[in-house]
């Protein structure tokens, strides 16, 4: 067995450097970390490249102004080109798992069956995934968060659903000795969150994995049916600007694990467009939000961020988009930009922050026959910023309106004094009887109502047919022998549940194919 590996940053190379290894894994989130750990455990020499920095609990001070620039794509300001959808996406060692809200769902069976029946995916069954989920759940301490530890913010959704007779559930979370602080989204200061940063990445480093942080992979070294490695620009850990040093990693196999935006972008920059499929079928779980003024403080920044959920509306019948209901934590900086309005109206709302409960509806996109999702395209190839388009269409707005009505009903059932939509001119509703009329009269149009996403999927869809998909059912890029994509970008549709555990499971399952291609 080889000796322990190292976690390197952009400062560890002063001159252009070339490394040689068995597998180069690009991206250290839920997909790349699981894959890198499995391959290292098999005795392969792996280099895991991450564009973001190596930030640990010693830096996780709970300050929004420090955390968004360090830990999120585009400092937390990533958005579609028209700014209509705010995109929250992680960017540091551990990727999204360093900053997500710990919600862990296995993939719904009907989603896997749809992928098999409608997208030609072979072998990715619930039975195939169960042993991988069991191993991951054990290692990450994934367990239901007890009702008695649920914060007041989640209690509104829980109680409201209970009063209305809506199906509800307790969230399973990947935490160990969690102190219920509520700061998961800014990096766990206690290492209680069992993110990749403190589990599989260090486990693999102990077994020989090399992690290279601050490495922005600019292109794959593409040859005839094979990829020879990757070329990365190193970034300064503090300024995040290029240091001028190029790191080349030559590898027998390359796995792209940058997520649903950065993976398609890397393939496109490398001249691989998958017959025009790369960057298409891009899904976002678009989210709409309702904010309620509660009679007592809910202090929405404290306590496990997500503890209750409802999938009561996940199936809404033919032609309609279903939605999952959950609760977000709210802190001042994100609240100020996400809540609508300016001036006195905005400040009066912000003053009530401890009393404001928000509920989110996560729309299950990509299921309707005419829902082809959005697209990821390149801008200037020299830049990291890409072009993201997600057209909001009538079926989205039908779901948004229905979801906002249901969320308002739940919030009133739980005792809300007033409920507001996040339209650019908020709809203020003071009693449940007014919900229908008030929200029917609101403008349902892009840029007039706040839409956000924390779940990015698709863009490198897996499938049986190279004419309609990017990777095959072993996650190998069609037409290349040693190039894989292993992350949420391979999902042919969205999931209808928070994606991290699906990505863990799929990556662990797919590690066998990557290993076989490397032999």
């Amino acid at each position: 067995m080889r000796g322990p590996g190292r976690i390197l940053t952009g400062r560890d190379h002063a001159v252009n450097t070339t490394l040689h290894c068995d597998v180069a894994v690009v991206g250290s989130g839920a997909g790349g970390s699981v894959l890198a750990e499995r391959l290292t455990a098999r005795g392969l020499e792996v280099v895991l490249l991450e564009e973001g920095g190596h930030w640990t609990k010693r830096s996780f001070d709970g300050r929004e102004d420090h955390s968004y620039p360090r830990l999120y794509q585009e400092m937390g300001n990533r958005a579609t080109d028209d700014q209509s959808v705010l995109i929250l996406q992680g960017r540091s060692v551990g990727g999204g798992t360093t900053v997500n809200w710990c919600t862990s769902f296995r993939t719904p069976r009907d989603v896997l069956e749809r992928w098999r029946d409608q997208h030609g995916v072979k072998g990715l069954t619930e039975e195939a995934l169960v042993p991988h989920w069991e191993a991951i759940e054990k290692r990450l301490h994934i367990a239901e968060w007890p009702l008695e530890r649920m914060n007041d913010n989640n209690r509104v959704l829980w109680d409201g659903c209970g009063k209305l007779g809506y199906a509800r559930g307790l969230v399973r979370r990947n935490v160990n000795n969690c102190a219920n602080l509520g700061y998961c989204g800014l990096g766990c200061p206690l290492d209680a969150k069992m993110s990749m940063l403190v589990t599989l990445i260090p486990d693999a480093v102990e077994k020989g994995l090399t992690v290279q942080a601050n490495a922005s992979v600019r292109r794959l070294l593409v040859g005839n049916r094979r990829v020879g490695g990757v070329e990365a620009q190193l970034l300064d850990p503090e300024s995040d600007k290029p240091t001028g040093v190029t790191l080349t990693v030559m590898a027998k196999t390359v796995a792209v694990c940058g997520g649903a935006i950065n993976s398609p972008a890397l393939l496109l920059r490398s001249g691989l467009d998958g017959n025009g499929n790369v960057g298409r079928r891009f899904f976002l779980h678009p989210v709409v939000i309702m904010s309620a003024l509660m009679p007592d403080p809910v202090v929405p920044w404290t306590g496990a961020p997500q503890a209750a959920y409802s999938r009561h509306f996940i199936e809404r019948g033919p032609g309609k988009v279903g939605f999952l209901l959950e609760v977000p934590p709210i802190m001042p900086l994100i609240a100020a930009t996400v809540f609508p309005g300016i001036g006195e109206q905005h400040q009066a709302l912000m003053e009530q922050l401890p009393y404001i409960q928000s509920t989110i509806a996560i729309c299950h996109d990509g299921l309707l026959p005419d829902d082809v999702g959005g697209t990821v395209k390149l801008r200037d190839p020299a830049e990291r910023r890409v072009s993201i388009d997600y057209p909001l269409r009538p079926f989205h707005f039908e779901a948004f309106r229905a979801a906002c009505k249901e969320m308002a009903r739940i919030q009133f059932a739980a005792g809300a004094r007033e409920v507001r939509s996040l339209h650019s001119q908020p709809v203020r509703i003071r009693k449940a009887a007014d919900i229908e009329a008030a929200l029917d009269a609101a403008p349902w149009e892009a840029g007039r109502v706040r839409v956000a996403t924390a779940h990015q999927m698709g863009g490198c869809a897996m499938g049986g047919d190279p004419r309609t998909s990017v990777v095959d059912s072993t996650l190998r890029y069609h037409g290349m022998d040693n190039l894989f994509v292993v992350d949420g970008s391979v999902f042919p549709t969205s999931l209808g549940v928070n994606p991290q555990e699906t990505i863990f499971g799929v990556a662990r399952w797919a590690s066998q194919f990557v290993a076989a291609a490397t032999a």
Binding site: Q83, R139, L181, E206, I342, R379, R385, S424, G447
Partner: protein, 213 residues
């Protein structure tokens, strides 16, 4: 104050072509840098003593004027001057990529610009020379415009300015925020485990169970 006129439908500025071009489209932006009305002077402002990293003094003045409408004086709240909102916005913009910086600069030029103001709302004075209520009306015009590209511009400007204000801990008391919990037991001076010959500290997520299949 002037009542905003209904927007004319500019023949040469078709909606699709504007939207396709990203944050703010090219044809519209051209109005931000040319023409007689564009050259009418804006209101001079005091620049930050440590200088500007991204924006010009004129662009800084627009940010400053917008900040004063987006955050009003309010008891218990730090002022726009105390926070230095436009300076903070300049520092935020310094960390985004060049193409995004360029778009933000163009947006500020367009917002200030007399010609664009005339085309959209019949006003010829620069934004920074308008009275407060007139400035509010211009902001509302952008927010509610039927041109998606203007709503996009409003959203970008609003996010930049509000982020510039709300990034500071000095606003926490005003919004009833208690701040991060004070139980961070590991100071930044503690060593960070990076593998190699150093043994992994036990609190770094070490697994004590059996090896997993």
């Amino acid at each position: 104050m002037d009542v905003p006129h209904p927007e004319p439908a500019p023949v040469s500025l078709s909606r699709r072509s504007l939207i396709k071009r990203g944050l703010v489209g090219g044809a519209l932006l051209a109005a931000g840098g040319a023409g007689f009305l564009a050259l009418r002077g804006g209101l001079p402002v005091t620049l930050p003593p440590d200088g500007l990293l991204v924006f010009s003094p004129a662009q800084f003045a627009v940010l400053d004027a917008v900040a004063r409408r987006m955050v009003r004086p309010r008891p218990g709240w730090p002022t726009v001057d105390e926070v230095g909102v436009a300076r903070a916005a300049d520092r935020i913009a310094a960390r985004v990529e060049p193409s995004a910086q360029k778009e933000l600069k163009q947006l500020l030029g367009l917002f200030e610009n007399g010609l664009a103001g005339f085309l959209f709302g019949g006003r010829t004075r620069p934004f920074t020379r308008l009275e407060g209520a007139e400035q509010d009306a211009v902001l509302a015009e952008w927010r509610d415009s039927r041109l998606a590209v203007r709503r996009t511009g409003h959203a970008a400007l609003r996010t930049l300015v509000l982020a510039g204000y709300y990034q500071t801990p000095s606003i926490w008391p005003a919004v009833g925020y208690s701040g991060p919990p004070g139980i961070f037991q590991d100071g930044p001076s503690q060593p960070q485990w990076r593998g190699g010959d150093q043994p992994r500290p036990d609190d770094n997520g070490v697994w004590h169970g059996e090896p997993l299949p």
